[in-house]
Amino acid sequence: MASVLDVARIKKDFPILSRTVRGGHPLVYLDSAATSQKPECVLDAERTFYETSNAAVHRGAHQLAEEATQAYEDARAAIAGFVGGAPEDLVFTKNATEGINLVSYAFSNATAESAWGGAPDPRFILAPGDTILVTEMEHHANLIPWQQVCARTGASLRWIPLTEDGRLDLTNLASLIDSTTKIVSVVHQSNILGTINPVRQIMDAAHSVGALGLVDACQSVPHMPVNVDDLGADFITWSGHKMLGPTGIGLLWGRTEALNGMSPFLSGGSMIESVYMDHSTFAAAPSRFEAGVPMVAQSVGLARAVAYLDDLGMDAVHAHETELTAYALSALEQVPGVQIIGPANNVDRGSAISFTVDGIHPHDVGQILDSEGVAVRVGHHCAWPTCRHFGVPATTRISTYIYNDSSDIDIAIEAISTAQRYFGTRV
């Protein structure tokens, strides 16, 4: 298969891809939906920062502090620009999970403050009868925080159900989103099913009743062009480690006035305006949400990662993945006993493909693949309710990225057959 990307050249940028595993098998990394590998230039950028400009940001009057602050704010601008946003609307978090929690706590904090004489933005105050809407294909990161908000405020959780082929069943959307709805929080691209959801339509429905909208873009920003204006959301979260960046950094983008309507989340240094022993006032976003010494080196690494992706071109990245997904889907279909969990066609679909193999537990499938050098993920993929919906305890998932090509898929397919022979389910 020819690709729009020069995968052979790209592979060379990732030192880890030249290692071997399990007694000499070349590594075939098909677990990028969990976390991506990092190109050398990202590691270099981080290291250079530490070796030349490391200092606490926004604090010192010395040259290192100036340089570190500049590097941090330049990174913010670059990463915001990558999704068409403004720097002042981008908050650095430790991962996407923190970003979603940050927004969820804006609700429970405002609710509590209003009970004790505070005057928070009323959009964030919840009461019994109010509802929060998610879907049945959320990652735990976009489900449990909302369950917890309900447990802290008396609000109720609703969810959009799934169809049999792993799409959102929007038939009853009009009754799921009504005057009780305060926030709608939806995954853009499912990490377990690969489904790409019509988030614009759902965000517009949320706004039509005055609710806020959040999009979990963990699996979309790394894989396709994403523009914050096009999504139509109030908040978008994603993580750096899935898009060639370092571990320990995530992103929350918000519309300026939505961000500034939220009460602080983590509090401490750098997020303040004035501090007295008995009360404090707070800075505007993004500082308001960045208490303490932040992930400075990681922001520099991530900025280098988005430059790398920009050089490839996100259109090309997306085209490459769409091609590879088509290739993988049709190869999997030809293996007897393999059932795809999620959309089997390549329409509105990302590159994560979950499947089961008749008669072999997903864990055992994954283990045989591993023994052949193929790294995949097995389990419920932090989307346990989605597994329950499909009546499977777990799945095996392959997920590709810019450094994968069809030969990686071929090796995985061959390893599935090996597993079937090993467990005697195929001759």
Binding site: R22, D364, G379, P393
Partner: protein, 149 residues
């Protein structure tokens, strides 16, 4: 293949032909355990007396967790609490030996086949799942007292 150490014949045999699988009609106590990273589930029941422990189990999951339940049931059904503890300790020790354990076949019987599992940290939890359920059920049943696990 490199996984042959993990998937010993004995393990695959217990997986395909589980011994003593099924719940007891009546039990002193039971425990349901899941492995939160992969969703494997097992329920273990205990009945009988300190001199003669009866074990029932049900579950779904990978070859390792299910074979481990089968081996455990075969090994411990009808054993005394003292024997149960001895074998449990030996099995847990083997699982934490990182593949360097030299199991005593007198004590561990078919459990010796799990020596290779200990080389795969992600699978150790699978192998231990039924044993954790047994431990919990036995405590609930008053057959053993709470101890540091």
């Amino acid at each position: 293949m490199s996984v042959d150490a993990l998937y010993q014949e004995i393990i695959l045999d217990h997986y395909k032909h589980p011994r003593g699988k099924g719940l007891l009609g009546d039990s002193l106590a039971e425990s349901f355990q899941v492995n939160p990273t992969c969703g494997d589930e097992v329920t273990v029941q205990v009945a009988g007396s300190a001199a003669d422990v009866l074990i029932g189990y049900e579950g779904q999951g990978c070859s390792i967790s299910q074979a481990s339940a089968s081996v455990m049931s075969e090994m411990l059904n009808g054993a005394s609490v003292a024997t149960m503890k001895e074998k449990r300790d030996a099995f847990i020790e083997l699982m934490h030996a990182k593949g360097l354990g030299e199991p005593d076949e007198e004590i561990l019987e078919d459990g010796v086949a799990f020596a290779g599992v200990a080389k795969y940290p992600a699978r150790v939890k699978c192998a231990l799942l039924p044993w954790m359920a047994l431990q919990d059920a036995a405590i609930k049943a008053g057959l053993i007292t709470e101890e540091k696990s």
